[in-house]
Every structure is written in C-alpha cells, then in structure tokens.
Symmetry: C2
C-alpha cells in the first residue's frame, strides 16, 4: 500500500526519482486509449538505471504496490493507464543506445530509446530497425516490445517480435534476468523472449533489448493507387497477393480518412479518388515489383501513379498521421481488428453497413497487407449517453464480425485495459486460465500492471 | 504406471492403435540423436485423430505415464528418445492437409504432415511453406514446430516460429486448446503459440498447425563460391553481410564435408576448393543480388560460378545430405551452436584448433547466414573409452567457446535429452526455474516428455 511511510521509504531508496507533483500524476495517469474511469497514480518514478527499476520493484513487492510500466504513453488500449493505488514507472529516461554491432547486424538498447532514434543511429551502417509503428517518432522500443507493435513495414519485415533477439527483464521481486540470445537463431529452452513480447507490462519490466537489424533498402518505389470506393481498394489488396508480390508497405485509407487528412494537412487526396491504396516496394527488385503491382491494380480500374521520392515520403507520412491528434475517449474509439486477407473485402463492406445501421461515424485505415484494420467509430459528444450506446453497439458488432470471419480483436495495439471485455469472445476459458497461471509464475503477488492484457 | 491392467485399458480405449510388438518398441525407441542410455518404451500408440490423442492423454494422466510425442523421429538431440516407463505417441498417421487458403496465404495441417508434402501441395498456388530443415523430405510439420526447426531458407524467411500462426494442442489432461490466430498479426493475450513452438513435446501435444505461406519466388540464382580454406569462406559470409544483400540461402561447407560428399555421391567438390560457400538469391531482385554477392566474394579471392538450375539444385541437395547417413552415437556427435555473425571466422578457427588439440576428427557445415554451425566431431569406435573422453572434451570446449563468443548451445535442433548438461552453462538458475514453473502450469504431473528440453 502507498502511504506516507512507504512513500518516504521509496524516496529514500530512489532519491530524486520519485514525483508526487499533481501535474506529473495527471500527465502520467493515462495513455492515448479511452479512459473508462480516471485514476491518478500514487507516484511517478523516473528510472535512470536498471538498478533503479530493481529498487522500485523490491519496494513494490514489500508493500504490495501495483507498478504500471510506461514508455512514451502512446499506447491506445489503456495499457499504461494508472490503476487505483498504483505507481507509474516511466522508462523514458533510460534512453541510451548501448551497442550497435554493424557486422552482427544487431543493436542493444535501453527500454526508453525512441524508435526513430535507433533507426537514425543505425542508418549510417546501412541498417534499419524494421518495426515502425506509425508512432515511431514518439514511442519507445520498450513499449513496442511490450505491445509487440506492428507498423507499416511489417507487411514485409514482420512485427516487433520478429526483430527481438534477447531481453533484459526485471521481475516482480526485483530480480534481473536475461532471456533469448544474441544470435539470429536459438532454441535453448522455452521462448521466454516471445512470451515477454506483447505481455504489456504484466510479466516483468523490460529494461534492455537486443534487436536484429535489417538492411536498409537501396531502392524504394512508391505507388499511389486511387480507387472509386473502399471495397474496390480492398479488392486491390487481394489482387496484389494473387500476383504473389510482397510489398514492404501496403496501406489502405478510406474516403473519410482522405477527407480528414486533406482538412488537417491541406492535401488534395480525396479529389483523386474515393479510397487510396498506398504501396511501397523496396530492395533490389523494387522497380519490377512495383510494375507487377501497378499492372494488377490498373486491371481493377485503379488510377495508379508512381510518386517521386519527396511526394512518396509525404504520402507515407500523411498515412502515419491518419489517426489525427484526437485522443480516444468514450465518444470516439479506434479499433484494431485483423481478419484473414480473403475477408478484407467482406469486412470492409460490413463495417460500412454497421456504421449506417447504428448511425455512427466511421473512418478506416488499414495495414492491409496484414489484414489489420483500424476503424475509428465516433459520435458527437453533444449527443450524449444515447449516442454513446450506439457507439458501443457498433464497436461490439465490429468485433463480433471480425471474429466470425476468423479474425482477432487486436492485431497490434494490445488488449490493454479497454479490450479486456472482448478477450473471452476470442479465447476459451482454458486458454484464459493458462495465461492467468503463467502470470502467477512471474508475478505471484499480482503487482505488475494488474487489470491489463489478460483476464485473471 | 504401465502394467498389464493399464495396458489393457489403453487398448480398449484405442483399439488397433496400440502396439507392444518388440520390433515397434525398438523402432520407436529413439530418434537420430546420441543415445545416452538405451530404453525401450512400454508401448507405441499411433494416433489417427485428435480424439485418439485426447484419449491417450486422459489415460496417461490417470496412470501417471510419461508420453513422448514423436513425428518422424528425425530429431538429433534425443528429444524423441523413449524414457523409462514411457509410451511413444506417434503422430505420423495424422497426416492430412486440412485446408489450403490460397487468398489468405495460409494452410492448416495435422501434425504428422511431412514438410515436403505441404510444399508440394501449395506450389500450384504459387506459394511455399518456407521453413525447410535439411530433413524436409522426412520430418513432420508437428516435429518442426515442436523443435522450432530452422533450415536453409530461414536466412531470408525466418525459422518455423515465424511461419506458425495458430496451434491446436492437447494438454497433459487431454483438454484440446487453440492458440494464436488465423491472421498474420495478432496480439490478444500472451503468445502461447510461440511458447509451444520449440517446447519439444514438454508442454502439450501439437495436433494441428495453421501456417503462413510465402510466395514461391519466380526467379532463383545460385552461386557456388569456392575458397582456399574454411576461415576464408567464413569471411565471405561477413562480406555478403557488409554488402547488405540478403541471400535466401547461405550455406558454408568445409573441406572435410566436401570430401565426404564426394565419397558418398561421386561429386568433385573438393577438387574445386578447400571450402564452399553456397549462395542462393531469390525473388524479383535475384539476379542483381547475385551479382552484388559475386562481386563481394571475388574481391576475397573466391572462385565463383553461377550454376544453372539443374546443377544448382543438385548442389543444394548435396548440402542437405551433408550430415550423411550416419546416426549419431557416443563416438560421433553433431553440434548445433550459433554465434553472432562477426564471430564466425574466430569460431571456425577455434574449432579447427580444438579438433587438433583433442585429436578428434571434425567436419563442419553451417547455415552461415544465421551464424548457425553444425560441427560434427568424431573418433574411431575402435579407439574405445579414451577416445570417447577426448570427444567429450572437444564437445564441451566447442560449447564453452561458442558461449564465450556470445553464442548459444543450440541454434535449431533443440536441447532434447543430449544437450541438457549444457543448458545451465547458458541460462541462469532463475531462468531455468521460470521454465520449470511454466512446465508445471501445463503439465502438473510431469508426464509430457520428462527429462527433455529444460532442466526441472
Ligand atoms: C498516432 C499513433 C500511431 C500509432 N501507430 C501504431 C502502429 O502503427 N502500430 C502499432 O502497433 N501501434 C501503434 N500505435 C500504438 C502505440 O504507439 C504502440 O502500442 C507503442 O508500441 C507503444 O509504445 P510506448 O512506448 O508509447 O508504450 P506505452 O504506451 O507507454 O505502453 C504500452 C504498454 O506497454 C507497457 N510497457 C511500456 N514500456 C514497458 C517496459 N519497458 N516494460 C514493460 N512494459 C512496458 C505499458 O505498461 C503498456 O501496457 C500508435 C499510437 C498512436 C498514438
Ligand atoms: C539429415 C538431417 C538433417 C536435418 N536438418 C535440419 C535442419 O536443417 N534444421 C533443423 O532445425 N533441424 C534439422 N534436423 C533435425 C530434425 O529433422 C528436426 O528437429 C525436425 O524438426 C524434427 O522433426 P520430426 O518430425 O522428425 O520430429 P521428432 O524427431 O519425432 O521429434 C522432435 C521433438 O519434437 C517433439 N515432437 C514431435 N512431434 C510433436 C508433436 N506433434 N507435438 C509435440 N511434440 C512433438 C518430440 O517429442 C521431440 O522432442 C535434421 C535431421 C536430420 C536427420
């Protein structure tokens, strides 16, 4: 429990690291996900070293205090929201790149390193850290690992898990362990690295990460394919697949998203078509791949232009901003379902019908190469509780529908706090139970981010 | 316990599936790994259906009988060896391809499907199942998943785990669960699919597997680069990396391996050089990539020839046979360490020195693109116990050395039974303990392949 005595003990153990200033408590109380119930943490601790994290967790174990790990707070599932009686552990000051091994094609970073900073640092070696969530200028590698973040390039290069080789993790009792291996391959014992990846702060605090780097592509081609409407653009995704060409990036934006981007950034995307498929190929085969994709899409009636590198980067950047600056709340919720690729067209049509039926607003972007969609549903705040109910009904239906089509409730954002109500729709009681028991192995007192990620 | 009464009960539960014929017990008593202590199982059960597996495990739970799952028995770590009082569960009859979803780029198979059969079946759709252990004509997908098998193509396409989306698993008590998702991405809850992958039959019996398929490359180029000696060829691996070109296959064979292949297959590899780097590029950029690689290797003094497709396939096939037909025993042990790429040259030199110092024979092949080496050490059986001691000393030293260079004791073959003595050299007591506790969550009675994979 947090009280004056335990707080004083914490402050003595971690001098200068602990804040209870109201502004800090507010700032660190939430991430970008909808807040079901606003809660302030009891304190915020800024760790600078692994030893700081260990000291905090030893203290938390002694006093049975919940610890919510936090990177940049860019999460959108409420995974980093404060819960009652919790302390927020911010990793953002642990932001050193510890090693870049150009010949090994690996790097070792502290958890708080920002995604883009690692990419900037390794570019001079002709290398890149592939996972690039749209939040890459902001989110931390630690947070990316804790959520197993996806991103644009993961169509070709895989998700965060596919780039993580080894982890340093502080367990609930303060013990520091290392999982995995510095080599590309390794199968000694169970894959604890993968188990930690995506565990959203509920199994341990990730303090160090060894990542595998990929080759920075020498050549990049970018196509903007505008379609009359959204379902036709979704069909384009399948057509690229049927051509058996693997794009590096394959993003789908509907008309409402194009309108929103035009409004915010002064672009003229919506005038070019009702839906945009943004395709990037890279590597030695990029030109030929782009040509094969262009042929496939033109065959479907798309208007396809190859963009020069400046305009191409602008478009990809616009896509990264397509969430807009609005933070999700109870009137506006961004979803993160994924469906098998063959179901994209059906799902996109179903979403549009749902929005109409429930009388809610809808816009959709998708990491379409992976079948991962981000529909955002919203209603006007001024419409009040009744509109909120319509929103909830549309959300629930969109989840049910994705599951019926063989999909998942979350492709990359994580369950966090917000999506726990849907987890049992996807997973059986037995699978839920196994996860709760695994959690107990790592965190017998239940102090690591309770009420998140799993149902226990 | 297995006795006449419990065996009769088993036979009644699974009529026609249970064999206690001595020939069967012998045949199924071991895999291709060294046998520390020969043990016959109490029975062999051939499962035909998921229900068969469930019935067996319910019986095993009632009678506290150890179950050793077995695919093709091609493992080389003793993971499928019988242990005292165990029943062998053979999955080889569960060999149906249940679904091929060409648009989703996925397939669903039973555990006993042979790797090559899946590839044959999906090729007509322009697809491939990427993980291709050299045993691909023989080993099962279930066994590949249980060991997280690597292979030749995993330099580019990743290991088995990277192609597994979902699993159907029968738990120790007979419960059937499903893990993962049919979509390419998904982060709902903990990654139980990855936890099962590589768990070597100690956490559950894998009965069904949903895999992600990749695009069959339209174009393939193969280079044979012969070097004066082995360390120079290892330097070639680094040079390709420094050129930042990603081969699909990058295999390294030393002179002794070339001699052995020439002897067994009538080839003339050894006359072409002291060591062979076999490189394959694939996809739209294959020709340009091959050219860039050729330039890098010629710069190192290699004699590089591009092989026509028939000769290329023959070379790759020869590489797949480089283990030879000898089964490992106490006089001949194949290793499976991996080291960071920058350490390949040092490690290769160290291995040659070790073999000389301990007066043992050595040949080495390596999935060099991943830093994964298969040194085989052997002594003449006729030399007896003293030679065996020299062999053991060389083995231990090769493991220590790989660990000192930042490597792992096993890159792809698994710990099985044989490598358990080295596991604590790599992993801390705390990490070993966590694994033992995870095992208890899944298998409280300890009946799933006891004495394998982890130290508990
Ligand atoms: C504009 C925008 C675009 C986005 N685009 C994408 C996208 O393309 N793909 C994608 O996957 N996500 C995306 N996201 C979501 C978010 O950025 C990712 O989930 C990101 O990985 C979170 O990183 P973070 O450092 O902000 O973590 P936080 O939000 O601080 O935390 C996320 C979760 O991880 C836990 N955690 C954080 N650090 C640690 C640690 N060191 N140890 C243990 N647990 C920890 C937290 O407790 C929490 O549960 C986007 C978000 C925004 C706002
Ligand atoms: C010539 C040769 C070449 C090889 N090349 C490679 C290579 O390139 N890369 C590589 O990684 N390996 C290689 N191997 C090793 C071996 O082929 C792989 O480990 C393979 O994945 C084993 O598959 P299997 O079906 O034979 O499994 P088995 O040998 O029968 O079993 C392997 C392990 O998995 C468990 N298991 C098997 N099936 C199941 C199941 N359905 N559920 C739960 N547990 C199960 C067993 O208990 C055992 O622990 C090679 C072996 C040989 C003999």
């Amino acid at each position: 429990m947090i009280d004056a005595a335990s707080l004083a003990e914490l402050d003595a153990a971690l001098p200068g690291r602990v804040s209870t200033a109201p502004a800090d408590l507010t700032l660190y109380s939430r991430d970008q996900g909808p807040v079901l119930e606003p809660v302030l943490p009891g304190a915020v601790v800024h760790a600078h070293t692994v030893a700081d994290v260990q000291a905090l967790l030893r203290w938390a174990t002694r006093h049975a205090v919940a610890i919510v790990s936090r990177g940049a707070g860019s999460g959108v599932s409420g995974g980093a929201h404060a819960t009652t009686g919790s302390v927020i552990l911010s990793l953002e000051r642990m932001n050193r790149i510890l090693e870049i091994n150009a010949d090994d094609e690996t790097a070792v970073v502290e958890a708080g390193v920002i995604n883009t900073e690692l990419n900037d640092a390794v570019a001079e070696y002709g290398l890149m850290y592939a996972p690039d969530p749209a939040s890459y200028r902001w989110s931390t590698i630690g947070g990316n690992v804790a959520t197993n973040a996806g991103g644009l390039r993961c169509a070709k290069y895989g998700v965060t898990r596919d780039s993580v080789l080894a982890l340093d993790v502080v367990l609930a009792d303060g013990t520091l362990i290392s999982t995995g291996h510095r080599t590309f391959k390794g199968v000694a014992g169970y894959d604890l690295t993968a188990l930690m990846t995506g565990s959203e702060g509920t199994l341990g605090v990730i303090v160090g990460i060894t990542v595998r780097l990929r080759y920075l592509p020498r050549s990049v081609h970018t196509l903007a394919a505008f379609f009359e409407d959204f379902p036709r653009a979704a069909a384009g995704v399948l057509a690229i697949g049927r051509a058996r060409v693997q794009p590096a990036i394959l993003e789908l934006l509907d008309g409402r998203t194009l309108e929103a981007l035009d409004g915010a950034h002064g672009s003229d995307l919506r005038s070019r078509g009702g839906s945009l498929l943004l395709v990037r190929t890279d590597g030695y085969g990029a030109a030929a791949e782009a040509e094969a994709i262009r042929t496939a899409l033109v065959g479907l009636g798309a208007s396809v232009s190859e963009e020069d590198s400046e305009e191409a980067d602008r478009l990809v950047d616009l896509r990264r901003h397509s969430r807009g600056d609005e933070v999700d709340d109870l009137y506006r919720v961004g979803e993160d379902v994924a469906v098998p690729k063959s179901q994209l067209v059906h799902y996109v049509a179903a979403l549009e019908a749902m929005a109409e039926r429930h009388n809610v607003q809808l816009k959709v972007v998708a990491h379409a190469g992976d079948g991962n969609l981000h529909p955002t549903f919203w209603v006007e705040r001024s419409e009040g509780a009744e509109a909120q109910e319509r929103l909830e009904a549309a959300l629930d239906e969109s989840i049910r529908c994705a599951l019926d089509l063989g999909g998942t409730i979350t492709g990359e954002h994580g369950v966090g706090q917000y999506k726990r109500r849907w987890l049992a729709w996807e997973q059986s009681p037995e699978v839920l139970r196994l996860q709760a028991e695994i959690k107990k192995v790592f965190d017998p007192l239940g102090i690591l981010n309770p009420g998140k990620a799993i149902v226990s």
